[in-house]
Amino acid sequence: MQVNESSKEFKPCIVAFCCNWCSYAGADLAGSNRLSYPADVKIIRVPCSCRVNPLFILRAFQRGADGVILCGCHPGDCHYTTGNYYARRRMTMLFSMLDYLGIEKERTRVEWVSAAEGAKFAATMNDFISTVQSLGENRKLRDLRCKE
């Protein structure tokens, strides 16, 4: 992994899957409280964190994301009671596999953000963006099979 000199200017493309009931509301709160986080985050609203099929994450990477984050209700607070417990296992497995394939594991993350945690949402995004920024463009996953 090279971090080039111009990585400061590098603007990563971040995709954030946010569950409708907590994290999306948290993002909303961050907005209405005028807490800033870069506009590079593309939020995709999903009904529940467990709606996120591992394929969605891979697809996002393939279509140009440099980092993908999944936000849901805190464990125990899922609107559908148990969705995020399933999501937790699924994502753990997917991220572990990406790491095993040699993809930087810092490009993926799961964070639980409630509707009241606007500040946490903004802080999480800022932190995630700067992590991905320092990693640079996501080349590896897009070229796992020497197709580029």
Partner: protein
Amino acid sequence: MQGIIEKVTELLDNGTVDRVLAWKAGEFSYDRTPAVFDKESGLYGLVYDSFCVNNLSKYLIEESKKDGKVLVLMKPCDSYGLNMLIKEHRVDREKIYVLGVPCKCKVSVDKIKATGLTGILDIVEEGNDIKVTTVYGDTTLDRKDVLCDKCMVCKDKVVVVYDEKIESDETAGIEKLDRMAEVEALEAMTPDERFNFWRSQLSKCIRCNACRNVCPICSCTKCVFDNDNTGISSKANVDSFEENMFHIVRAYHVAGRCTDCGECSRVCPQNIPLHLLNRKFIKEMNELYGTYQAGTDAEAKDPLTAFTKEDAEPSVIYNR
């Protein structure tokens, strides 16, 4: 072998079953192909020996849709796949008569060839000797040296689902290998080394789909990779996505359900070690969610359709 033929003949004759799914001798003495026999065709060509490697369980999806009852010869390792098919309602158990057969590990023709032998005319097994006749002369190999990779890490020799079984106490007399050793070796590498390893392996893939087609767990009627209506292949960038992510998607799809039967790696014409992807998932799940062997029974929930409130957070991956 003789006992098996007798049993099968008896069940076919007394009308318990209408067809028999087993292996048939092919052109060479070591060629074994899955085949269906019935009363009309007779059992001519039916064999069961050390070259009968194929997992027959997947064929039951189609066979159990037909009229009448089918008898299947079931090796211990294949029976795990059958249990998964029963669990996932892919086969009709009522229409299957499972005859468990013993296994003393299978011999790999590829490994025999890999010893450098060419011009092979015939391979015969005699006790622990594998006698190879080639155009250049005869050679005898030790059976232990040419066993299938998947047999070196065999789960155990128990047929887990059967109506009747034929027992034998013959064993190959080998030490089982630690099936996670290779996974651990990869884990110990740096991410860049791992990436290079996988990229060189996965780049060899010719997308023949054999690994998917052979797998008793990959049994969807319409595979996501063949379906034009999924996001996978209906948009631009199609090919790059499905080409690039195929192996992750395949491995993930069987995660928690893969019985580690080893068929995918065996059939890959490019010798891609697909079992290393499957076993990574198995290892992680065993460590994080408790030991689980898919296919041991047709009831237990697999790790990805279950949870506990105390499960590890995905951040365990980063903290390693």
